[in-house]
């Protein structure tokens, strides 16, 4: 599974992207796994009002299903334009 981080989230977590072996079958499960890395991860990924999720480059939700080869992205609300 390829996990990517963008903008403030990328900077705060100090991670751009990573290949991980995860058995998560939903985004929520993946977030639970990543949250075990420490308080910072737990806190940032729990922020429902700010955390945006994409699966295979399409907007997704916490309950969206995941496949082993999926690309998952986490990022803050967008601010382009």
């Amino acid at each position: 599974m390829l996990v990517r981080y963008f903008a403030s989230l990328r900077e705060q977590l100090g991670c751009d992207s990573e290949q991980i072996n995860s058995s998560a079958t939903t985004v929520e499960q993946l977030i639970s796994e990543l949250s075990q890395r420490g308080e910072l991860w737990q806190q940032l990924l729990a922020d429902n009002s700010r955390l945006q999720i994409a699966v295979n480059q399409a907007i997704a939700r916490r309950n969206s299903p995941l496949q082993p080869e999926d690309e998952v992205a986490f990022f803050p609300p967008v601010t382009g334009g």
Partner: protein, 158 residues
Amino acid sequence: MAIPVTIRVQTEDFDVSTELKQLSANDKTVGALVSFVGLVRDINEGQSIQAMTLEHYPGMTEKALHEIVQAAQQRWPLQGVTIIHRIGDLLPSDQIVLVITASRHRHAAFESADFLMDFLKSKAPFWKKENTPEGSRWVDARESDEVALARWNNAHAL
């Protein structure tokens, strides 16, 4: 019917006249072109802005913009759409984004350009980071952008 749709994400600047001409060059039934240009302002929320960096999510950005254009095409009789968004480092007064809509009549062109900007602002994965005299900061999403988006929901959802 397939209409000319141009979507580009680039570091280089763009020229509005050139893009306008391309949209109407092969279709003499175009009567109205509405364009929106977003510029870097030198002040934002009371802080002076020295420079700005734009990050995006390559691949997803283009996909999101194509979806937004399709949604606009379903609502208005458009004859062409151009969206260009810059990334990388920008200075005050630099052009950030260009949206052009072409149509036979002006109201379709005005409304669809307005719609495209509202959706781009809330749905396309771009992020701005500003350099101020006190250091750099990520720009916060504005609630007014969500309100703007909601205007379009009474008729159709995206």
